[in-house]
Amino acid sequence: MLISLQRKDRASLEPAQGSFSHHRQHGLRIDGRRTTELRKIRSITSTLSQADGSAYLEHGNTKILAAVYGPREVRSKTNIIHERCYINVEFSMAPFSTTERRRRAKTDKRMLEIAQFVKQSFEPVVLTQIYPRSQVDIYLQILQHDGGILEACINATTLALMDAGVAMEDYVCACTAGWIDKEPALDLNSVEEAQDTSEMTVALLPKSGKIALLQMEARLHVDKLEEVLQLASDGCRQIHTVLDRTIRDRAEDLAHKMPSSS
């Protein structure tokens, strides 16, 4: 489990937003959701034929493409780990992903950090010890940014890894929850993120209920932590059903296409 608490400093990744005051109406958020509702999630796997496994995920208006290569031979000898496989995560954002077009440097600290978060949440979940001296590459590309990129990254990675047939203990489902207008709210979009909102990203293993990642932006009163955590965990379980459906649909689809062995 990884816990990181840090000050809000995500100017580099933020889509350009004007100041917008949002008064909540009858518990409806700015985009018409209630506080406990997720955005619409759509996902497909095997979108890229070149990669061993791939997934495309839409989380509201946040759109992401994940590609997995491996397990394969380690490219650079320095990365060889003898008893398990090495996981390499590369994260990038398309210049057109935000309202303001901007090319981002590969060394952008926030982008490296997100890659690191993804790597660290998957290392204990992927059964690395069955692939010794090998490497799994995960490439993540944000196509459109509308808030909640870390959750989208983790969910897309889960799908892509499964599509690639990499052995895993469980799904890793991630979801954000935050504290807006004196109320906890699930799955913040970029408008809601833009203010100095306290936001928590939780990655959960739905079967065991273990938390793989807990990450927090801005400050939140400790009394409210449990409430927000609970909400985020519920969100993760909802996401799990969506991801599971995608995987099963794909499996059924494949089963139909396969020439029957009998």
Binding site: G18, Q25, H26, G27, G32, V191
Partner: protein
């Protein structure tokens, strides 16, 4: 879950970026009507908290954006109800950056009495429409609105017709036909008012004046456009000369950057009421106060606006003028302003040349210039048409606001004659850069100026006290919630409820209140008990009226009470927070009847240490409604007191004595911890909350019983505060009193120094001790002590309600009372905060584990009064039965802010009404004299048939002004006062008799020293009762020198003598009334003579002793003279039709008073002072502004 999502593409033209936002359209948007055909209604399905449209409305109103943008003020009028505000139009307001309109409309929607709802039309799948390519916003909004109307018709199956209000679209646009049967009608505002509000001229008037204001605005816009056009075509053309001296505001982005980079300063602009030319803002701690001098630099900002200020060059920095301004009347405002400006500059140069004269006291202050305005804080203002304007032709007129800090306002009105000498309500619309005065519009008429009722209404409007409260009425719905109580069918307790409560009906419970008290909040019981073998223990109970039982949360009564916040007591009337049936009957703890109560019962040991505390609901039967004087009589050892029979006295006596003994011990303990003891002074800010009401007026030397009752209430309050904090860490309603800022004590220290006393202000304990020392050292000089304590009080911060979650624990403390926890629990009938506290306490007690209230929460020792509070005491699990509101810290904080605001405003209203009656008092006295002196000149009648107590309007005609001097020869009211504040050109005198503070000028407007010759005649210190005989001619060639803050010396060449005026010196002054049309009359004073300090010390000491004796004897008589009686007195005086009779009577009275005064300067009697003492308190706020 609603997944059907539609993407609305919105482009933001300003920054040429495309912004995409998703919107999830829903089917579950509630209609918020009581007529909802679904069951459960669509509102309950989504569990939201909102007002509801009424079921018996004749129509629902649906204003479109053209109405909301320009005529929103009409929608704010309380007459219009059942309005559906669509999200579409509210969004439009935000887009047009109309935050203020937006906020006030949200406020309307919040007020459940207005039955106005906000409908999320943009989120509802049935009403949201996509904007067509090339479609204007107006058309799009109109289509949404039409859809909404259709949806409402369909949803409510055509039960209530919907009226769309629009100034832009018509029926034709809706359906393409002029008539149809869909139940939707499109009307313009005029059509609507004509067909539904024919009988309400107020609305019509408002609409007309709004229309005119808009017309004017449009004219201006076209003008500006033309100008721009011409200047573009002719680049060399001269710009129209701007004579106003105002400059354009800087763009918001520049202001923001400037404030961040500390180049500009942001703050709330305040104008000094006695120096209208000077405004100031509180910058941050580095710069302190920034003074803004003059109209040009203030640059169209109005008192209360949040402004951004740029500092001026250091060479322009000024020493704030310490002159008392001469002419508060604004008739010659511009001239006066310029004059003052010159004075200010003069004083600056003076100080720079003679900078050697104590630079520490004459600190140069930074000055600034307003460069931008962040938020306008305009409200409705009460104003009067400028004199003589009614005869002018033309549509524009200037009105003078009642509040002197507000500039004149230009309004457009067709018939100014109808407004002459009337108090009217106006609003400011805009203040263009080329206009000297702001543009406003007329809202409604209040009545003739200086009419008593008009003035009181004006006070209410100026202080934002709601119309419904001033109309005293409660809505029918609220009254339906009330329990039945009629003479034939008196209310009685319910047997089922009785079983739930602890029955204390057999105990001796009594209440001690001022005479004629109707709303009895609190009662007390006390008896000796034996606890676990220990003898001499005491059971003390404080029983508070159980208002929370009758007023259900979020009921109509509750919402109304919350909006009112507090009962407002004005000098001659009061505006209740709760309906009379509750406040005077069912809740009031009357004697000989069963009443529900919320009780706190302590078990104390012989040393008055708390052994255990019990909280809970009880039923009591009061044995006796005692009056303070009766209780004091019993305490003083009398066996029988007037008004009570002997047997009852015998029964009560031992209880009262025991109570006194116990409370003395408890009080002593609290005092040892540093409770501020400002006894025998009007500035008892310690218990200010207990003295909120006129009824609680205490004699100048309060009886011990007052302290005893107060102590019991303080104890109950603090214990309840601890208890609710345990239950609601996040949201307990507490009352805190922050420690004062040390620099505020400067005045007090200086004053004490001048008398050779030292005061330690380092902590509340030190302050209390040194004030006590002062009392011992100069106990003779009551008036001096009073002023000293007033100064101490002025240095204090203001106590306020807080929600526990919003502040850190160490901020909960109450400085004045020296308690770690304090709240208001003991007056739920007249304060809403107490009602909240009751609910929270009850929620704490009725936790699921305990079956009933009888389950006591025993906390022996832990929260003992003598031991320190254990801050980390066991936190009880939050109770499940309590409502969401009580637990919601943010919401409680919001209510607390509202209550603080209401409290402050009601105090200001009280202060204003007091001043109103003070001037009335003086007016009556002076008028009486004049009548006697001149054989009753008709033009100065004091009581006219139409109830106006004012002089003829002819008085204001310029021709009469010449007579002023003549009138001043007669000195009507002569009083002794204390110098309370020394300024450069005079000083302020406090007249304890009336509680009036007023200016005395030693220099006239030209700066010459003006000392009346009477000073020389009367410096011996004796005054005969012959009024009007003083020599008012001025002594020639005097010079004067002022040592700021403490003394002024005047040299009189002819007499080779100098006169010294020091702080707290006693002087004789004449009281005069400065009449004014636009403002309230104000009192000013002229110097007549001074009492030499030597005589006043010796004689004063003797007099003080005599005075005290006399006082004790007169206590009974005096305390019975309630304020109401005094007011009645004033009113009677006013109503006496025969002027001559009144004159004779008043002359006699005046004589009596004056002779009495020559022997003793503070003889009790009908002294207004005693009545008005509680209002002194409000100065705390004034000074801390």
């Amino acid at each position: 879950m609603h997944w059907e999502s539609v993407h609305f593409r919105k482009t933001n033209k300003n920054t040429v970026v495309k912004r995409v936002r998703e919107v999830y359209l829903r089917d579950d948007i509630p209609c918020l009507s009581s007529l909802c055909p679904l069951s459960p209604s669509c509102k309950d399905r989504v569990k939201i908290d909102s007002s509801l449209l009424s079921s018996n409305a004749t129509h629902y109103l649906l204003p479109d954006s053209s109405v909301v943008l320009r005529y929103s003020e009409l929608l704010e009028q309380e007459e219009l109800t059942d309005i559906i505000l669509t999200e579409t139009v509210l969004q439009r307001l935000q887009q047009e950056d109309r935050q203020r309109t937006y906020k006030s409309l949200r406020q309307v929607a919040k007020d459940s009495r207005r039955r106005t709802v906000v409908f999320s039309s943009e989120k509802c799948s049935a009403t949201a429409v996509l904007r067509r390519p090339g479609e204007s916003i107006d058309e799009h909004d109109w289509r949404t609105l039409a859809k909404t109307a259709e949806w409402y018709q369909a949803h409510l199956s055509h039960k209530v017709p919907t009226i769309i209000l629009s100034e832009e679209f018509s029926q034709l646009d809706l359906t393409g036909r002029v008539q149809d049967d869909t139940g939707i009608t499109v009307m313009t505002l005029k059509q609507y008012l004509n067909s539904y509000w024919q009988q309400t001229p107020v609305l019509h008037d408002l609409l007309d004046s709004l229309k005119e204001a808009i017309l004017e605005e449009d004219e201006m816009m076209t003008q500006q456009q033309q100008q721009r056009h011409t200047s573009q075509s002719l680049p060399g053309a001269k710009k129209p000369s701007n004579t106003t001296g105002y400059t354009d505001y800087k763009p918001l982005s520049e202001l923001e950057a400037g404030v961040k980079s500390e180049r500009f300063f942001q703050g709330v602009l305040k104008v000094r009421p006695n120096h209208r030319d000077q405004a100031f803002i509180r910058g941050d701690s580095r710069i302190g106060e920034i003074v803004i001098v003059g109209r040009e630099h203030r640059n169209r900002a109005v008192h209360g606006d949040i402004v951004v200020v740029e500092l001026l060059n250091k060479s322009h920095w000024v020493v704030p003028s310490t002159h008392i301004s001469y002419d508060p009347d604004e008739t010659h405002a511009v001239a006066a302003e310029e004059e003052e400006e010159q004075q200010l500059v003069a004083s600056t140069t003076l100080s720079s040349t003679s900078s050697s004269s104590s630079p520490s006291t004459r600190q140069v202050k930074p000055t600034g210039r307003v460069v931008g305005i962040v938020t306008r804080n305009w409200r409705s203002y009460v104003a009067t048409l400028q004199e003589g304007a009614e005869n002018e032709s033309g549509a524009f007129h200037l009105v003078l606001p009642l509040d002197p800090v507000i500039p004149k306002i230009r309004i457009r009105h067709q018939s100014p004659k109808a407004l002459a000498h009337q108090r009217i309500v106006v609003r400011i619309d805009s203040w263009p850069v080329d206009s000297q005065y702001p543009n406003g519009h007329f809202v409604r008429r209040l009545g003739p100026a200086h009419d008593l009722d008009t003035e009181v209404t004006a006070i209410l409007i100026e202080h934002g006290i709601s119309v419904s409260q001033s109309a005293l009425s409660f809505s029918e719905g609220a009254l339906k919630e009330m329990p039945v109580h009629t003479p034939s069918q008196p209310w009685g307790p319910d047997p089922v409820e009785l079983r739930q409560r602890r029955d204390l009906r057999n105990e001796v419970v009594f209440s001690i209140d001022p005479p004629n008290c109707q709303d009895i909040d609190d009662a007390i019981s006390i008896k000796e008990v034996t606890v676990s073998g220990k003898k001499g223990c005491i059971e003390l109970g404080v029983h508070i009226a159980d208002v929370s039982f009758f007023v259900t949360e979020n009921g109509l009564t509750d919402l109304e009470a919350r909006a009112r916040g507090t009962t407002v007591y004005l000098s001659d009337r009061r505006f209740d927070m709760l309906p009379k049936v509750l406040s005077e009957q069912v809740c009031s703890l009357r004697h000989h009847v069963d009443r529900y109560a919320m009780s706190v019962i302590w078990t104390l040991d012989a040393e008055a240490n708390v052994l255990s505390t019990w909280y809970g609901r009880t039923v009591i039967r009061s044995t006796c409604e005692m009056e303070y004087e009766q209780a004091q009589g019993l305490l003083d050892g009398k066996s029988v007191v007037p008004g009570l029979d002997a047997q009852l006295c015998k029964k009560l006596k031992k209880h009262v004595v025991l109570l006194a003994e116990t409370m003395r011990k408890i009080r002593a303990k609290r005092m040892a911890k540093g409770g501020l003891e400002l006894e025998s002074s009007e500035v008892k800010f310690k218990f200010q909350e207990e003295e909120n009401s006129i009824k609680d007026i205490v004699p100048k030397q309060p009886l011990e019983v007052h302290q005893i009752i107060e102590e019991a209430m303080v104890m109950a309050n603090s214990y309840v505060a601890q208890r609710i904090y345990q239950g609601f860490h996040d949201s307990a309603v507490l009352r805190h009193h922050p420690a004062p800022v040390q620099s505020h004590f400067r005045m007090l220290l200086k004053a004490a120094e001048s008398r050779g006393l030292s005061i330690d202000t380092s902590s509340n304990l030190a302050l209390a001790n040194s004030l006590r020392d002062c009392t011992l050292k100069c106990g003779d000089d009551i008036e001096f002590l009073r002023l000293l304590k007033t100064m101490a009080t002025m240095a204090m911060s203001e106590a306020s309600y807080i929600s526990a979650g919003a502040y850190p624990v160490h901020d909960y403390a109450h400085y004045g009372l020296a308690l770690d926890f304090y709240t208001h629990f003991t007056s739920p009938i007249r304060r809403y905060a107490d009602l909240l506290v009751h609910r929270q306490l009850w929620a704490c007690l009725s936790q699921p584990s305990s079956p009933s209230s009888l389950a006591s929460s025993k906390q022996s020792g832990g929260v003992g009064g003598s031991e320190g509070m254990d801050l980390d005491g066991p936190s009880s699990s939050s109770s499940s039965s309590s409502s969401a509101l009580l637990k919601n810290g943010a919401k409680v904080a919001q209510i607390c802010d509202h209550l603080n605001y209401k409290n402050r405003e009601s105090k200001f209203a009280q202060k204003d009404s007091t001043e109103l009656f003070q001037t009335l008092y003086v007016l009556q006295k002076t008028t009486g004299h004049r009548n006697s002196g001149r054989g009753g000149r008709g033009r100065l009648t004091s009581g006219r048939e139409d109830g106006r107590m004012e002089v003829d309007s002819g008085e204001y005609a310029p021709a009469e002004n010449g007579e002023e001097e003549e009138e001043e020869v007669e000195i009507p009211l002569v009083e002794t006062g204390l110098i309370s504040e020394i300024r450069e050109n005079g000083f302020f005198v406090f007249v304890p008799r009336f509680g009036i503070k007023g200016p005395v000028y030693l220099r006239d407007k030209e700066g010459r020293v003006a000392i009346p010759a009477s000073v020389m005649q009367n410096s011996s210190g004796h005054f005969a009762g012959e009024e009007g005989r003083y020599d008012s001619s001025m002594l020639e060639g005097c010079t004067m020198e002022t040592d700021q803050l403490t003394q002024t010396t005047v040299y009189i060449p002819g007499h080779h003598k100098k006169l010294e005026f020091r702080l707290f010196d006693k002087v004789r002054v004449g009281l005069h009334l400065k009449k004014s049309l636009a403002h309230r009359h104000s009192i000013y004073m002229t110097l007549i003579g001074l009492e030499s300090t030597t005589t006043s010390k010796n004689v004063g000491a003797q007099h003080a002793k005599q005075g005290r004796q006399a006082q004790v004897e007169k206590d009974m008589a005096m305390a019975r003279l309630s304020n109401q009686e005094l007011v009645r007195d004033i009113r009677q005086g006013q109503e006496v039709a025969a002027a001559a009779a009144a004159a004779v009577k008043q002359k006699k009275r005046g004589k009596d008073k004056n002779t009495a005064l020559s022997f003793e300067q503070s003889k009790p009697g009908q002294s207004l002072h005693d009545v008005l003492e509680p209002f002194e308190r409000s100065r705390i706020i004034e000074s801390s502004l």
